[in-house]
């Protein structure tokens, strides 16, 4: 599988064309999709994350690497599903009610997809009811909420309360993020964790799913 090192490189450098081509060739040659993901693709995204933490990569590099990862996964995912493999986790994500900002939320969604999660993106201005409906329908184990404004972050609290009232709170882990969000706020509203950036959100999602 010497050639698959090239898949690792393609994802690390964000070359989605070559990620797609190498994936197609490798699958045609009989490579094991599970092994491709575990041994080359996820390690590539882990290295992207390490470089981000080390100030070598920034948001543009995260985005292009996530896009390359996604291009490759589009071919691999159907095979994984056919073989009965489960995604790393199922996440319902959205920007909370009253808030129309989607850049941070989109970044987190892209990085989670890159890490092998199935992401159900509800968009912006998402009401508590919409979150709850999606959690029930998709049997998601994780919910990720975003808010950019100090004036709208309280919709996170309202959503957590609505989830409790609807009896779904204990079926899921809740993670939150966005410029004004702090650890203290996450604790205060009863979320399970928060992250200050999209890369940290992946580590957090993995931790919450494993817990």
């Amino acid at each position: 599988m010497e050639d698959l090192k090239k898949l690792y490189d393609a994802i690390l450098t964000g070359n989605f064309k070559s990620a797609k081509e190498i994936t197609q060739q490798a699958l045609a040659a009989g490579a094991d999709p599970q092994a491709m993901v575990q041994q080359y693709m996820i390690p590539a995204m882990d290295e992207v994350g390490r470089r981000y933490e080390a100030n070598e990569y920034f948001v543009p590099e995260l985005l292009i690497s996530a896009r390359a990862m996604k291009a490759s996964l589009e071919f691999i995912r159907p095979l994984l599903i056919a073989s009965g493999a489960e995604p790393a986790g199922r996440v319902v994500i959205g920007t909370v009610k009253g808030d129309l900002h989607d850049i941070g939320k989109n970044l987190v969604a892209a990085m989670l997809e890159g890490a092998g999660f199935e992401v159900i993106d509800l968009g912006v201005d998402v009401s508590p009811e919409k979150f709850i409906t999606a959690l029930n329908e998709k049997k998601a184990g994780l919910v990720a909420m975003s808010a950019l404004l100090t004036t709208t972050m309280n919709s996170m609290k309202t959503t957590v309360e609505a989830m409790k009232a609807a009896g779904v709170r204990n079926n899921v882990k809740i993670m939150i993020g966005g410029a004004p969000v702090t650890e203290k706020y996450a604790e205060e509203i009863g979320a399970d964790g928060y992250s200050t950036n999209a890369n940290g959100a992946v580590a957090l999602a993995r931790k919450l799913v494993a817990a």
């Binding site: 100030n55 985005l63 850049i103 100090t150 309280n154 410029a179 706020y185």
Partner: protein, 289 residues
């Protein structure tokens, strides 16, 4: 340098204003409501915010037009109101200033990202050009491109603003990277100063994202990287939740005391962003005089 800036910068630092959104909330703006729409529906309240800043000592005030580009207003279903909202925004600030302050009209980000191709550079340029033209026709003294996270978007806004012939301030958020000295897209203060100057900005700045302690070193780096005047508007520290309410703990006096370092670093324009109020401007005015 543009004659407006030459006159204004005879005595520095020039005092700008503080946050508008939180002030409008105190007057009844609801969470999730478009603050800029209040230029049409609640002009008296907007005028009151502007007036309080002028009364507190602002020599430059902005306008309630931060989101008034077509792309951002579309999210509120107000895309057909671009000209009305911008025109009213300038008029309201002008009335409140009554000759006591200049009007630097605000242009904020579109909220969409070029990199993910959800918007094209042409669409962005068209949206900023439309807004800049409306602000200029309404009589703004200068344009302020602020709270930008992406240098490419900021440069498109500068390009659009320059077509009006007005002085252009271009200000970005530095809050990313492990030292919190990069824009979200990873640009350093030095890259920002160089590229915005090359794009034709007359003043280079930093606002939002960090408090005073974060923006003092950024101001020094911007100062060293360009000969253009520097514009700084920090937040009032980091927000905290107190009894369910978002609170900024930095007091006006602390903020103003720290601002002396901005003056000493040669910053030309000083004001505040999120969490600041007319009391902050008043404290700045006392401290920096």
């Amino acid at each position: 340098m543009h004659p407006t800036l030459v006159r204004l910068l005879r005595s520095t630092p020039v005092l700008t204003d503080g946050a508008w959104g939180t002030q409008l909330q105190a007057l009844g703006l609801r969470a999730g409501e478009c603050p800029d729409a209040w230029n049409l529906t609640h002009p008296e309240q907007v005028r009151q915010v502007a007036r309080l800043y002028v009364d507190a000592g602002s020599a430059v005030i902005l306008t309630n037009t931060f989101r008034s580009n077509r792309i951002a207003l579309e999210g509120f279903g107000l895309a057909d109101k671009v000209v009305d909202i911008n025109t009213s925004g300038v008029r309201i600030s002008r009335e409140a200033a009554a000759g006591r302050a200049l009007i630097f009209a605000s242009i904020g980000p579109t909220g969409k990202m070029l990199m993910t191709e959800e918007v094209t550079p042409d669409e962005m340029l068209a949206a900023f050009t439309e807004q800049a033209a409306a602000l200029a026709s309404a009589g703004a003294d200068a344009l302020v491109i602020e709270t930008m996270s992406d240098l490419e978007e900021a440069k498109l806004a500068v390009q659009a603003a320059r077509t009006t012939g007005l002085p252009v301030v271009a200000s970005m958020v530095f809050d990313s990277g492990k030292d919190k000295d990069r824009t979200m897209m990873g640009s350093t203060p030095e890259q920002v100063a160089e590229e915005l100057a090359a794009a034709g900005a007359d003043v280079i700045g930093a606002n939002c994202g960090l408090g005073m302690e974060g923006y003092i070193p950024i101001a020094r780096r911007l100062r060293a990287a360009t000969h253009l005047p520097i514009w700084i508007k920090p937040n009032a520290g980091l927000p905290e939740m107190v009894e369910g309410k978002v609170t900024y703990r930095t007091t006006p006096e602390e903020f103003a005391r720290q601002a002396a370092a901005l003056r000493d670093a040669g910053v030309a324009f000083v004001g505040g962003c999120c969490g600041t109020s007319p009391q902050f401007v008043h404290a700045l005015s006392t401290m920096l005089r």
